[in-house]
Subunit: 339 residues, 4 copies
């Protein structure tokens, strides 16, 4: 068994990691930390884990014999704890934004902070296994991607990787409210958001440069990204409706075929015939992708994930599986709820 710990475990990301790890056949969850809930039983805070996780939150990670640490701390806090964990020789999967943007000046621009761990920033591997599988296996430090970049990049990757479209992408994203985290705010107050769809941080969301970075790696060149996130009144799940314009005419069937080939053998990506569904993937690590053409030359790539699973904790477990040479789907091999 691989012994794992979660640092910063009392938020949605930590709870979801625990929900997945508690029935993982090869990874054993041995510790969870939380300043706020130190000393409290995990199942007291998350009643659904009673009978599955028999731990108490610790104030900080002890000297236990861990192989792997998931860091679910806020950005800014992650880069304070990751260097020490790496020095201890532990493998680290960081779920914050701290190690995702490889250029510290871009990090500073979008996060408003100086990056304090340039060394490890260079070593961090950006963990979307379907796109960057090879480097993950050997990594010590994984920057676990944001939910929006995961969903939109999977939706657009074949087009940009194969050079079929102009260097301009529009990502119109719709996310459930669990993506906003556990802290109540005016934006997630039920009377405010439940009868609305709310665009927010248009042009200023931190996932914009992350999407751009991924698309540029695939396209090997500059990509102009327009990213508009919206909050929709569901809790789990996300749809990205992404737009790109073809360089040359191409019919829908050929595009679908291209996608099927591109994702051939990728367990967690499902290219569907019509439009993808959120409820098909909720609770699971799957991504569904559907395609359409519209107007003169525009491809509409629609992709859905569970933002807390494939968009967060599930992808982290998938990355862990790859790092440790386990089956990629270990602990994740179950379908979405469907209803």
């Amino acid at each position: 068994m691989i012994n794992a710990a979660i640092v910063g475990g009392s938020g949605y990301t930590g709870g979801e990691l625990a929900r997945l790890l508690c029935r993982h056949p090869k990874i054993s969850l041995e510790a969870m930390t939380s300043r706020q809930n130190a000393g409290v039983k995990v199942s007291h805070v998350m009643s659904y884990l009673e009978g599955f996780v028999d731990l108490r939150f610790e104030e900080k990670l002890g000297n236990g014999d861990y192989d792997l640490v998931f860091v679910a701390a806020p950005h800014g806090a992650s880069m304070e704890v990751v260097p020490d964990l790496l020095k201890r020789g532990l493998r680290v999967i960081d779920l914050s934004g701290d190690y995702r943007l490889s250029d510290p000046s871009i990090y500073r621009k979008w996060y408003g902070l100086d990056h304090k761990d340039h060394d490890n920033l260079g070593r961090a591997v950006y963990g979307i296994p379907e796109l960057f599988h090879e480097r993950i296996a050997g990594a010590d430090l994984i920057a676990n991607p944001g939910c929006y970049p995961t969903c939109s990049a999977l939706g657009l990757a074949p087009l940009f990787a194969k050079g079929l479209v102009e260097s301009h992408a529009i990502v119109d994203a719709k996310s459930g409210t669990s993506g906003a985290g556990q802290q109540p705010t005016a934006v997630t107050h039920h009377p405010v958001c439940a009868s609305q769809v709310t665009p927010y941080k248009v042009g200023t969301h931190r996932h914009a440069p992350e999407i751009q970075m991924v698309l540029e790696r695939l396209a090997r060149g500059f990509v102009d990204v327009v990213f508009t996130p919206h909050l929709i009144p569901i809790v789990r799940g996300m749809l990205c409706t992404s737009y790109a314009r073809l360089n040359e005419p191409m019919d829908l069937g050929s595009i679908q075929l291209l996608y099927r080939e591109y994702y051939h053998g990728k367990r967690f990506v499902r290219v569907v015939q019509g439009t993808p569904s959120i409820i098909s993937v909720v609770g699971s690590n799957f991504c569904e992708i559907g395609l359409a053409t519209a107007g003169k030359d525009t491809v509409v790539a629609m992709s859905t994930i569970d933002n807390l699973v494939k968009g967060g904790s599930g992808q982290a477990v998938q990355n862990a599986n790859i790092m440790f040479g386990l089956e990629e789907a270990s602990g994740l091999d179950f379908p979405g709820l469907g209803v």
Copy 2:
């Protein structure tokens, strides 16, 4: 008082017309027809109208002394009844798609029907008062616009009318489920749609050529329109997130100023500083518009309406007010619910 009748009054559009007309100071609702509910009290079918509408549904419109008829029949059925109404000398506001697309070949292409009333198709005036006010006053027949074209065209109009953007628009629209009408279907079955956002009819929705027609009138030239409607799990209200690329750099403040000037004096359009809100307009005839810039040169125009009011029955009443020389806001001069 102006005497009005509603043909095809038992759907959401008819009910909403009745809700608005029952407290209109200058228009009196004198008849509603419904084959399905002929003979039944209106307030029996729509309990909320008890004490406000004291009519029974009639099977078909009699020879009463009407000045104005709202036709809320399905497309295809409207063009069967409108010619006779016009021959009787009545003013007609048609809420179906039958008289919106001025070119019968485009109508045939998108509706799959031959248009049977070419004469009146040529006379019909497309009724978005904020864009085409002058022709409405003298019209006998108004083609009341679709909800998506109303919302997206109001959001994009200043950019295209002033020639500031390329001839390409992406309209990513999110509608409440009341837009799908009163008939239960698999798509609006609550377990199917309530935990999802569902793109549908991507590239094939009938409102696409209508949006294109409006933008082309404003731009005086071809516009390539990509239209992606989504069903979101709210009942009333709609957001269009529309994208266009500037010909020349322009800062956000200047764009906002342009919009404020363009809509100066238009009672029902509100250009807001940040993002627009659906709950601010629900229940009312208002449209809220917010603007952002993103990427290199993209304008993101966000617009909200209540799809049943400004996107349907409310705009029909607004058109009626203009046709009969009443105050444009007569019977519509109340705010949205806000909460």
Copy 3:
């Protein structure tokens, strides 16, 4: 015109009062106070009121020439400001809980505060017009009822007033989240409440003694009340499903007839044949009541209101109309949204 002011106007109750008063034909809204938003335009905080309310929030109520003050302050704060307003000779409608429970010892028990204004507590008239109409007309101070007591008491009143049932009532209430107010909390955090129905404060909610007080006045004797409020994932509207046991057998038709007679001439109460609907009353001051019998001898009384209108600000306006001898429905004479 009657000049009115709202003290504590920046919450949902204040906004809803403003929404209703801004189109009231006989009451003119002249001032709104808010410590938090002092100096800010009302329509800046509540964009839906732009063009309808042209006021700025004042820090505290000035010496303007008001006839009527709506106090929308939190409980505890109301009894600090009400005495002075009454001394100035103004009529006051208090929307907090401060003047609802006529016995100060019960107030202390449930609100955890000593009541500081015993004098006016004795003079305050509890304002459900359909049940206590006569005393409202002559009142200086109205205690505007809670949403749950309004809805459940209207649903049960005929049974208790006519002595038909045992002295025991169960009120199983389901409220939209706007009833929780404008302040974000863990309970109204969308991911927490949107996929749930949540019972809360079972046996300990402050509306329990208020329901008991009303039923006891009607029954002229002790009534044992069990009150279980639930939060449901809608924003506006409330259903109370209330249970009482008949003393003597009585068929459903007779019960329905009794209700129709009891509420004869009451504009805002609608006794329906089957089950009542929330969407029929949303946005309006109406209460719908439906009835059923079940088990051996139990009456199930189901009642719906818009918690912000008939359950709050609308009923306050209705009380104001009665106090000033206006039409009872003045400014409130419009139907619910229906869809």
Copy 4:
């Protein structure tokens, strides 16, 4: 491995059975029937099962070597197919209402049909394992309980089994819309149900006599049951708020202790300190129970389940596990979603 088949597999119950069985370690899903979808791949109809269920729907069950058949047909149809399955020597778990009510005259009264299989009706074992465990192990035919009876009976059982309350129970139940099945109807049309809570079939729902039957078995005597189901705007999950009156005073702590002892060792029942949560159990086979006291002598028992799992397909799998001597939690040993 135990070979299982599902008869009538294309509805929500069948899909949920397949979702659970596809990762069951000891039961292998070998066939699914559906008249409507005969010949179609299961994963074509239920995309979330792609990669998990590699079957095509068959028109009717063939002569395969099955050990166990889940019958997910509508009531009335089940009793047509169950006798033959039993004659073939197969174990049967029937998820319809056909074998739940042991008295055929009560069946006729509530289902409006004559029961055609009196023999097996007598042999059928009502399958709530936490209440009737011993008889399930030896059964050939399990009547899998309704969702409402499962949830409410688990909530009330200790009180009635221990004789602590009067012979009168009120069950005020709130269910997600998936309980209404896959067929779109006016009641589950999103615009109709999404902004409401809707009581339905008050006093006439078929689960009323089933609840009564269970409580009477526990109480060993007549129980007067009042059952009011409500549809709430969530998809999965159910809350029953049930009321009973104590014969003798008893404090809340003692009641909670009684419940903990009564359910000691029952893996899927969790007695919580405060109120139970739906999202804690969604996706899982758990039932959460919370308790309160209110009024003079009333116990409020609140219980939550996922209506499709513990209220249907999950409990069916639990019953199968017991019938075949497997671990009771086999294939069901995972927590709810929590968020």
